[in-house]
Structures are given as C-alpha cells and as structure tokens.
C-alpha cells in the first residue's frame, strides 16, 4: 500500500530544503557581492572546492587493493592526455573508457 499524499509532501519538503541551501547565500550576501572580500572568495573558492570534490570522490578507493590500480591508471591517463592535448572532452573520455574497460574486463 503506497501513500501518494505522503510521497507528495515528502517531495515538497525535500525540494524546499535543497533549494534553501542553494538560495541562502544569494539572499544573505547579495548586497555585499561587490565587497573586496567577496571577490577574493569568488576567485579562490572554486579551485578549492574542485580540489575537495576530487579528493571526495577518491576517498573511498582502497589504495591497498588491486582495483586502486584501475583508478590510478585512469587518473594518470586523464591528467596525461589533458596536459598533452588540452582538450577536456578528450581527456575525460580517454580516462573514462580506460576505466570502464579495466573494471568490466
């Protein structure tokens, strides 16, 4: 027995909670957006967050296992191809296809 009413209110609540986290900084800090500290944050935060996201997605890799070699090989390929050709799509595909090949093979 499924409760559609519950599901609908669930979706509404989760939508509001997610949107609130995305909206909050714009509501609170919009007036300060020209402040020098804000432009400093705007400049330096993206590289920090991007680095953290990389470490975050890699944190569950067990670097003592054989599978970690797949991950390391795919990362090395992505970085290598990117430094070589500088074409984002090509680097991402090279790394991803290699990874898929290694884990499925």
């Amino acid at each position: 027995m499924v409760d559609i009413g519950y599901l609908l209110s669930f979706i509404v609540v989760m939508t509001i909670a997610t949107f609130a986290t995305r909206l909050l900084p714009f509501v609170i800090f919009q007036k300060q957006s020209k402040h020098p500290m804000m432009s400093y944050i705007a400049k330096y935060t993206p590289p920090m967050i991007m680095s953290i996201l990389v470490l975050y997605v890699l944190k569950n890799v067990d670097f003592n296992s054989v599978e970690s070699i797949n991950t390391l090989a795919a990362i090395a390929t992505t970085v290598g191809v990117h430094l070589w050709k500088g074409n984002s799509l090509l680097s991402i595909f090279a790394g991803t296809f290699l990874y898929m090949y290694l884990v499925q093979g």
Partner: protein, 224 residues
C-alpha cells in the same frame, strides 16, 4: 551555442544518466507510480538527496526529519552560491532557475569555463544548467521504466564525473596560477578526513574557506 553546450556537458551526461537510472531502479522498488521518479528529478534535482530519499521513504521518515537531513546533506551548496554572487547577475526567472539548478557539476563548469564573448553569459549558464537537468531527468525516468528489464553495463561510466573534476582542477590551475587554494584544500581535506570522516565534503569546504578568510585578514592587517 547549443552545440558548444552539448559538447561541454557530455561528461556530465555520462555521469548523470547512469546515476539517474540507478536512482530510478531503486525508486521502482518502493512501489510508487513511475512518474514520481521523473517528478523528483524535476523538482529536487540533487543526486545525494534523492538517494537518501529512497531510504527515508522506505522508513516512512517524518517530514521534519526529511527537511533537516536534506538541508544538512546539501549544506555545502551555501558555499557554492557565495562565490558566484556576481556571476549569476540580476534577479529574474532565469536567475531563479540558475540558483535552483546549482549542482556540484554545474557549479564546477560555470566557475571554470568562460562563456564565449559573443553570447550572453547568464544565458550560457542557463542552458548548461538546463541541459544538465535534462540528463538527470532522463536518467531518473529511464531507470524506473526499464528497471530490471534491460541489462546495461554502465559500470565505471561514472568515472566521467571524477575525470571531469580532475580536468577542472587543471583548468582552475591554468586560470589562477597560484598554488595557495590547492594547498589549503588538500590540507583541509586531510584534516577533516582524519577527524570528521563523515562530514568530509562540507567540513573541508568550511575549513578551507575559513583558512582563506583568515589568511586574507592577516595579510590586510600586516599591510596596515
């Protein structure tokens, strides 16, 4: 412009469609009509939160609990907005949607990739967000409809998102040519991973921004 955006967001398609499909398959197990999976992709549009929703729905969690846990889970987004206050321009329907659709991947693209000169910057970001949500909604829908019927071997495809973040770190480095943010981020992540492993994402972001602001304040003071 659309062609350029499709090209730009292809890695995200590789991540979002299989991930959305996984969500759809799990959602199907709950026994609700299929279109609610589509609806969740349309309105919630948050990967981690939707996966958490599967657990909360099957447990019949209270709505207060749903609100608090979703807010906590997505709290990192507060810091995303902080760095694009200027970039997203003036308030209007377009900006409303841009803010609504600010996922990790969209944030990464709009903060790293410069819009071409001939196009309106906010329109460019708008279509990136829209196309990304399109992939996600397609994934959520396909997963629940196809369910266990078709055997897909998409294993490993989600590495595209890891590869995307790696490439964007390199691109960020090319833009900024300053090692400071990368060092701060790495040290913060290691610290948080050791002491608060369950809050790695939001913890590292908060810590690294705090360090950044502190360093700036010290620098300003010493220049008097």
């Amino acid at each position: 412009m659309i062609r350029r955006i499709i090209k730009l967001t292809t890695p995200i398609m590789f991540g979002y469609i299989p991930m959305g499909m996984t969500f759809g398959v799990l959602f199907q197990g709950l026994g609700y009509p299929w279109y609610f999976s589509t609806l969740m992709g349309l309105f919630i549009f948050a990967g981690a939160a939707q996966f958490m929703a599967i657990g909360l729905l099957s447990a019949g969690a209270g709505l207060t609990e749903v609100f608090i846990s979703t807010f906590m889970l997505n709290f990192r987004h507060v810091f995303y907005g902080l760095s694009i206050l200027e970039k997203y321009g003036k308030w209007g329907l377009r900006k409303f949607y841009l803010v609504f659709g600010l996922t990790d991947e969209t944030y990464s693209l709009v903060t790293t990739i410069k819009a071409p000169k001939e196009v309106n910057e906010q329109n460019y970001y708008f279509f990136i967000t829209l196309v990304n949500q399109g992939y996600w909604v397609i994934g959520c829908t396909l997963g629940v409809l196809l369910g266990g019927l078709v055997e897909f071997n998409t294993e490993g495809m989600d590495f595209a998102l890891t590869a995307l973040f790696i490439v964007l770190v390199i691109e960020q480095w090319k833009n900024i040519r300053d090692i400071l943010p990368f060092v701060i981020a790495t040290l913060s992540s290691i610290f948080v991973l050791i002491f608060f492993p369950n809050q790695m994402l939001v913890g590292s972001i908060m810590l690294s921004i705090s360090i950044l602001i502190t360093l700036r304040a010290i620098k300003n003071k010493s220049y008097g």
